[in-house]
Symmetry: C3
Subunit: 397 residues, 3 copies
């Protein structure tokens, strides 16, 4: 009676983290944790999907997918909520015209970070590009920034090209659903209120936040796969100041399968651009932080599984006032190596180990507890090294 | 192994709203929004249901149905929670005796509003009767009031008649699950506490809120379908004052299918009745607000779809002190028109447009942002007109 | 395409509770409630599970199970959240080696309380051992204490023996996922902060809370089934004081099926042990409260159903300073009787009645509202008797 497909992934692992900060006088302060985590190989989830064939190459489909923290049964949405946060879409597709998709979906710019990372941006092996891009909610521009539309955007319209002899592509627009006031002076807090209390003008309304616009195009044939993407996420705004803060991402990635191993690579540039931020008082552009990220990875079949390894790095720019080279911008490097043993297509066990090194004030971690940065004898420890491992079992249905 | 039916609806649309208030000196202030919304044709959901045939006409069944905001993947429960808020019931049914149903279910009084509205109380076309009845949580008696048991009631026992030659009917009782204190003087805050601080007596305990009792009966045969329902929702109470606030709804609705079109109509009366509210100081009964609502609609097959249109109106009573006709009671009128194109039984695209006009202080909207009512030059703008559209795609599995 | 099994239970009942406290001068104060409740025979839920046969006796499986309050459609997780709070696991199993299971699962110590209670610790018939063990979050050691890992533990690793000729067994370890600080003096609030404000040292960090370690072993053959279990739950800790609060449970239970009836019995000891709590100022050990619990039950086939009855009791120790027998420790006794009529394996109706009597300050209830304990004429009423019934319908798919 029902042709709905029910699907689920449960992936739990024993994971350990050790985050080391440099304290005063050559000491170090470490925070460490051993935990049962989920989603270190493949994100745990359940969902429903279905497609109706409407004839003549036309079809319609839906996809509802909810993330689950299967280590404790809570949802992967905010505050432990089970929500269809991974994907919630309805589509109409045509073999010749492509697919129109409405709802919450992955952003085009995310795919290069995800698909060309040997670890698929999961677990301790996650590429530094994704870590710094701020998949996690809070963050400074030194430790990954906040970008709610980094991996997915709600309220989106997407268009996907049909199969075009190896070429593929997609565009996405997500509504910020801002409320427009006419006359504009009634936009809260309103000109009258601001005249009475000028400080109110500085309060961001963030009405334009939530907007995303981006595109991705690529070519896939035989051993080769390359793709380019660009996207802009609006993350903050202020009507009266007239400012808009946008995170702009462009990246290019590719892979080549040599048979004995697939080699992957990516370059990504992420920039946080606040309009009106550049002026006479901001000659070095320090309020337009950005970073370049690179990844080089390899996936090599080995026995009944895959050996995976990657080197990823980020180099921040315009974060510090690097006067005469005395205060260089932060940077970080990461190595990850792991092995996945496949009992079958569905069932796998895996082990991953990763090491991360911060320099010049970067504060990225592999996971686990925050670096200890409370002042000791008046000196705040500085984030230094991060170690982590995952040892897990995954079932995918 | 499992005979559970899994079902889902995903319905997303691009929707726009424009709500216009009359400002001072002939000006107007509008708030407008373009958004990706869900559930504008059919409420987005997922669920599980099953029925066991126990033989001899006897059966048992269950139904769990959760609303989903498929534009962003959050749940349609309070605070974005995915909950089985649409229906959560277990039943035992018999061909001769009817069905006994326990749990959270639709109220009898809701069915006439829903089934005889060409738009099924979904999207911008929703009948004004439903809007004013306060499907949405907060509200004043001018802009729809709050009635948590308007469409559904938790903790209910329902009885549905078996098939009786065209006649159908149901009754429902929902427990408020109030705590009874014996002796009554211990009911919080308690007589001793009130003696010390008489103001405490005025604090409503709302212990009797949540109760619903109602019934519906109708007749359906060939082209005709008519039904009558009555119900009472307790929405507030105070043990020491002895007051109970009840929303009483009665409505009658019918449809006749002429073949080229089905014509639908409804009359509904909604009254908010607070016991003890009528006294010497309340000669005009202004604390017993009520409204009459009417709907006239049409659904006409056209091509591979349906043209749908409706006119609905509400007329408030006992809201203003209408002394010598100087301060008439609020009223509102709404027109909606739309077309649904059915690719198949499951897949449809649709477009709906609606226009709403408030008079004499009514503040109903089609959706989207609130009217702007902050004072401008000392004069608060008055809600006036509301416009809205939906343009969407729905899949039902 | 999917071999996932979807399963669900919906169990709703009309239930009543009457909780009577002894007031001053021979009076009594009762709180009572009639409600629609869920899960009184079998906990309402939905879930997904699947197993892949990997050949050679090897297999892998997952299990996601969420509790639902089917009376109102909310989730059975905290704050009405739908979460996979009942079970969320991934396993690898082998016919010879047993099963390794990761995630959120039942604790070994819970099984004896649950499996040897004629009412399966559901509804008003629930064994007093489970009530006092603090299945519900808050509680004092007189009315059941708080033990978040009583029935289930998150972040756990479990091992289950394979089938061994009637012998069965399991062990479980659950991570507290505490953050370790090195040097230890940096553990919040930190030695420097404590030196400045010594009161901070007393603030519990509870970093070690959440840990569970336990085991269970038993033998089942023909009419006989006996099992023994022991487990420790860490429920609180303080790094600077050096204290750890652990609830230690050991129990032994058995059943014998005489054919005309199955007789069940259990003895359980629950102890709340705070390290550092015994010292010269605590000669009577009053801060190491414990209780002994016993259960005797019977399940007798009768017609197309089962008659179920139980007597359960708890005797607290080290709660009061029982000097010369003047202030004896609290105790409580409970009787429950019920009948389940099975229409089929899936569909059942049931009725249960229970009576509970508290003595010497115990404050356990069968359910429903709290005892009234606000002072009347300067004297706080004392919890006395509790009565309750369930009358329900259950479907299990």
């Amino acid at each position: 009676q029902s042709s709905i497909i029910v699907f689920a992934v449960v992936d739990n692992s024993v994971s350990g983290y050790r985050n080391q900060a440099k304290g005063p006088l050559g000491t170090s302060v470490t925070t460490s944790q051993t935990a049962l985590t989920s989603s270190a190989l493949t994100p745990s989830r359940f969902g429903f999907r279905g497609r109706e064939d409407l004839g003549g190459g036309l079809g319609a489909s839906f996809w509802l997918e909810a993330g689950v923290n299967t280590n404790d049964g809570t949802g992967a949405g905010p505050d432990g909520l089970v929500q269809f946060n991974r994907r919630s879409t309805v589509s109409i597709d045509d073999g010749d015209l492509g697919e129109l998709r409405l709802g919450r979906d992955y952003t085009p710019t995310y795919w290069n970070d995800s698909l060309f990372d040997p670890f698929g941006v999961n677990g301790v092996g996650t590429s530094l590009i994704a870590t710094a891009s701020g998949q996690a909610p809070p963050g400074s521009f030194k430790s990954g920034w906040s970008n709610a539309q980094y991996s997915r955007a709600s309220n989106s319209i997407g268009y996907h090209l049909p199969e075009l002899g190896g070429f593929y592509g997609q565009v996405m627009y997500a509504f910020n659903e801002k409320i427009t006031y006419d006359p504009g002076g009634t936009t809260p807090p309103g000109v009258a209120a601001i005249a009475a209390n000028p400080a109110l003008a500085a309060t961001p309304d963030n009405a334009r936040a939530g907007r995303y616009v981006g595109a991705r195009g690529g070519y896939r044939s035989g051993p080769v796969d390359v793709a380019l993407s660009y996207g802009e996420s609006t993350v903050g705004s202020n009507y009266y100041v007239g400012s808009t803060t946008t995170i702009k991402i462009w990246n290019v990635a590719g892979s080549y399968n040599f048979g004995i191993a697939k080699v992957l690579g990516e370059y990504s540039n992420n920039k946080m651009d606040t309009s009106l931020a550049t002026n006479a008082f901001n000659p070095f552009g320090v309020t337009r932080p950005e970073f370049d990220g690179i990844l080089i990875g390899v996936v090599a079949p080995l026995g009944q599984g895959d050996l995976r390894a990657s080197y990823s790095a980020v180099r921040y720019k315009h974060v510090n006032m690097n006067t005469f080279g005395l205060n260089p911008d932060p940077k970080a490097d990461k190595f990850a190596i792991g092995y996945v043993y496949n009992f079958s297509k569905r069932t796998a066990v895996y082990a991953t180990f990763a090491y991360l090194s911060n320099k010049d004030g970067a504060g990225l971690t592999i996971g686990g507890p925050n670096y200890y940065t409370q002042a000791i004898a008046g000196v705040a420890p500085v984030p230094d090294k991060s170690y982590g491992y995952d040892l897990g079992l995954r079932l995918s249905f």
